[in-house]
């Protein structure tokens, strides 16, 4: 397991294979696998640490409107996230 995966796992993120992303239901945050790969560990640690003040699901990177709508619906139905 690489450092980025360790950071995410320790912070309570689970990898969702279908959505190719790391999800934390409690923090209501989603990191696309691609975004994790494209950024540094320092960037990732900072994004994990920052509080979600949106009151909604927070995505890194923000998806298109229709994608967000479908993803959030799936998250709210509990199908896409563990924990």
């Amino acid at each position: 397991m690489n450092t980025k995966e360790s950071l995410l796992k320790e912070a309570g993120y689970w990898y969702n294979f279908d959505r190719m992303s790391y999800i934390n239901r409690r923090a209501k945050k989603v990191f696309a696998e691609e975004t994790v790969e494209d950024n540094t560990e320092k960037w990732l640690a900072a994004r994990i640490a920052e509080p979600n003040t949106t009151g909604d699901w927070q995505f890194y990177d923000e998806p298109a409107v229709a994608v967000r709508r479908a993803f959030v619906a799936e998250l709210e139905n509990g199908r896409a996230a563990h924990g």
């Binding site: 279908d18 959505r19 190719m20 992303s21 989603v30 696309a32 691609e34 995505f59 990177d61 998806p63 298109a64 409107v65 229709a66 994608v67 479908a70 993803f71």
Partner: protein
């Protein structure tokens, strides 16, 4: 109210439209490769084989493959038109594999210049032709045919 067509529905429809061209391409490429390896095949010992296979990606696999290319694994339903199965590089693939090293040697010796068979290592990666052919018909922007082993 009429229900909105999904990206998947549109792609399935595209698949149905592409299918005849895919089938023609499969037949064409398979026949052509069999022709190119014919001389090597005729010289094989009874326990040796050169297997030529072609396959079409099935509809749902193609749709799934396209979806997996998207970040978060969702199609953007607001932009149906940006998706096309022709962007997949492997709608039609073919491969050939000799059963033994001796068969590879025969292929190397007898193959046509159009079939760049050198060694198992090189040949097992890819084979491409620079001519326009049936693959281009179903895979826009690609001027070469590809093969997977």
């Amino acid at each position: 109210m009429v229900e909105r067509r999904t990206v998947e529905d549109r792609l399935r429809s595209e698949y149905a439209a592409l299918l005849p061209a895919m089938q023609r391409t499969r037949t064409e490429v398979e026949t052509e490769v069999q022709h190119l390896v014919l001389r090597a095949t005729l010289g094989l010992d009874q326990y040796e084989r050169i297997i030529v296979r072609a396959r079409l990606k099935d509809c749902e696999s193609a749709v799934d493959a396209l979806r997996r290319r998207e970040k978060f694994g969702f199609f953007d339903a607001d932009h149906l038109e940006q998706y096309s199965l022709t962007s997949l590089p492997d709608l039609v693939v073919f491969g050939f594999s000799p059963s033994r090293n001796a068969a590879w040697k025969r292929l190397t010796k007898h193959s046509s210049p159009e079939l760049p068979v050198g060694s198992p290592t090189i040949s097992s990666r890819s084979f491409s032709s620079t001519r326009d052919d049936g693959i281009q018909e179903i895979s826009s922007g690609r001027k070469s045919r590809s093969c997977l082993f």
